[in-house]
């Protein structure tokens, strides 16, 4: 408990210092805002509903992209994890396609879909595809081989083997992959909005800057930080509650 308090001192102290310094020097700026003004702007944006709307757009696109790309990645990851031949045959293609930076696809997606949800979903889906593919493949590889022997002894057909042995055994690690991908999806979604797509939190952030509202800009940044933190903390709590026994060393806690 003591460590928690010490961790809060520095950020709060910095905020107080900024507030006091700007009040004393009568700062009027298009780029900076007093922390109290930032807090007020955040409160107003929460009240008038604009923040909820843009958060909904960002989260909706990020989660839809994760569902599409992550789902495909999971399916392929299952296949590659079960069949070494398939993994080997696809390895060169994966190695060639994976390093394509996600943001490089923004112009392409814009060209194909125009602005809106679909272009953002496409970019997020491409990005989330790879970590889900590779991590779920690794998750299946780490399934205890003796479990597979048991399945063979019991004469399971391939479908039962996957549904009753492989998936339950790999689930904790797949959940870790999902948790990491949620963070990636949010980051990529916001990036797409900042770079091109006129909707959601990223665009709100850009337009707050362009309309010289530093208070709103910092409020949105703060909100984005809180959102990202709450998502990852919430998923971490779920992971510890559901899979505490199967992930004793908190594997994959650090991306």
């Amino acid at each position: 408990m003591k460590a928690d308090l010490r961790g809060a001192v520095v950020p709060l102290g910095l905020l107080l210092l900024a507030e006091a310094g700007m009040r004393l020097n009568q700062v009027q700026s298009d780029a900076l805002a007093r922390p109290s003004e930032v807090g007020l702007a955040l409160w107003q944006a929460l009240l008038d509903g604009s923040l909820w709307l843009s958060s909904g757009q960002t989260l909706g696109a990020a989660l839809a992209g994760l569902g599409l790309g992550g789902g495909l990645g999971l399916l392929l990851g299952l296949w590659f994890g079960l069949s070494r031949a398939a993994a080997q045959a696809s390895s060169l293609s994966v190695e060639l396609l994976r390093p394509v930076p996600s943001v490089a696809l923004i112009p392409l997606s814009m060209l194909v879909f125009g602005f809106g949800f679909r272009m953002e979903i496409a970019v997020v889906a491409f990005t989330c595809f790879w970590p889900m593919l590779l991590l779920s493949q690794a998750a299946i590889r780490q399934v205890e081989p003796r479990l597979l022997e048991v399945a063979r002894m019991l004469g399971f057909n391939p479908w039962d083997r996957v549904a009753k042995i492989v998936l339950p055994a790999a689930l904790p690690r797949i959940f870790v992959a999902f948790r990491l991908s949620v963070g990636i999806a949010l980051v990529v979604g916001v990036t797409v909005e900042i770079a091109a797509n006129p909707q959601g939190l990223g665009y709100a952030l850009m337009s707050a800057q362009q309309s010289l509202r530093p208070d709103l800009m910092f409020a949105l940044l703060l909100w984005l930080g809180l959102l990202g933190w709450a998502l990852s903390a919430g998923l971490l709590v779920l992971q510890q509650r559901w899979f505490r026994h199967s992930l004793p060393d908190a594997a994959g806690d650090r991306p």
Binding site: A8, S93, V100, P101, V103, A104, I106, I194, L221, G225
Partner: protein, 256 residues
């Protein structure tokens, strides 16, 4: 012939065949016009744009611009990350004071600081560089802190017995111990650097592939767009391969 070697050759051949098959599918898709050529140029058109751009020197210049930006930002982020990480990591007290704040800032999308940087610095090459460095510093910083925090406690005792100064401790015991963590962090920040270099070029209109592909998309020059995307993929691939080769060499003493 060695059967193991034969197996490996066979594996590589299948892998290559699958890739060629995908390329063939791409060719077929454009040839049969399943997808309009405005959106999806064929492999030959992309190759043509790539060749022409590289031969004329235009694409080469843009590529070098992006690589330079990425490399400078990454180097800056690595230097700051390792130095700060060493300072924070060496002292448990400092860790307790600062680490919660660092953990709070980390999940923030790095691109979200772009508007702030534009407001504070303006649309300049320096702004892009600072955004790259800011975004890419976290993986290195946190990994280095972790590397320092996980130093074997007996090594602390050894350094006390040898009366090492804090600086000597950092260079002789701390950094070599934190190196594997720091290198892993640097690998992540390399990817982040490339992404932020592209975003920065798009937003601040700095010369580079990021801006070039955006302009190509706006004027429906899809072959050039694909050539740019392919080059960006190549940059990602080559830089990652170089770093993992360097990582392997530097960490050779760690392997049994």
């Amino acid at each position: 012939m060695n059967p193991k070697l034969l197996m490996r050759g066979l594996d590589a051949a299948t892998s290559l065949l699958v890739t060629l098959g995908l390329l063939g599918l791409w060719w077929l898709a454009t040839r049969q016009e399943w997808v309009s050529a405005i959106f999806l140029p064929g492999p030959q058109a992309t190759w043509g744009a790539l060749r022409e751009g590289l031969l004329q020197g235009e694409l080469l210049r843009l590529t070098l611009g992006t690589v330079e930006r990425m490399a400078y930002g990454w180097a800056l982020a690595s230097a700051i990350g390792i130095a700060l990480g060493a300072l924070i990591g060496i002292s448990p007290a400092l860790r307790a004071w600062l680490q919660p704040m660092l953990e709070l800032i980390r999940p923030l999308p790095a691109s979200a600081v772009v508007p702030v940087a534009i407001a504070l610095i303006g649309l300049s090459p320096a702004m892009v560089l600072i955004v790259i460095a800011f975004g890419a510093v976290w993986p290195v910083l946190l990994a280095t802190v972790h590397g320092f925090a996980s130093i074997e406690p007996r090594l602390h005792e050894v350094s006390r017995v040898l009366r090492l100064s804090p600086l000597a401790f950092i260079f002789k015991i701390g950094l070599p111990n934190a190196l594997p963590d720091a290198l892993a962090g640097m690998r992540i920040s390399l990817t982040v650097s490339l992404i932020l270099a592209i975003v920065g070029e798009m937003l601040a209109s700095q010369e580079g592939l990021g801006q070039a592909i955006l302009l190509a998309a706006r004027s429906f020059r899809s072959a050039e767009l694909f050539a740019g995307v392919a080059l960006l993929g190549l940059i990602g691939f080559v830089s990652n391969a170089l770093l993992s080769w360097a990582e392997h060499r530097v960490l050779r003493w760690k392997q049994p």
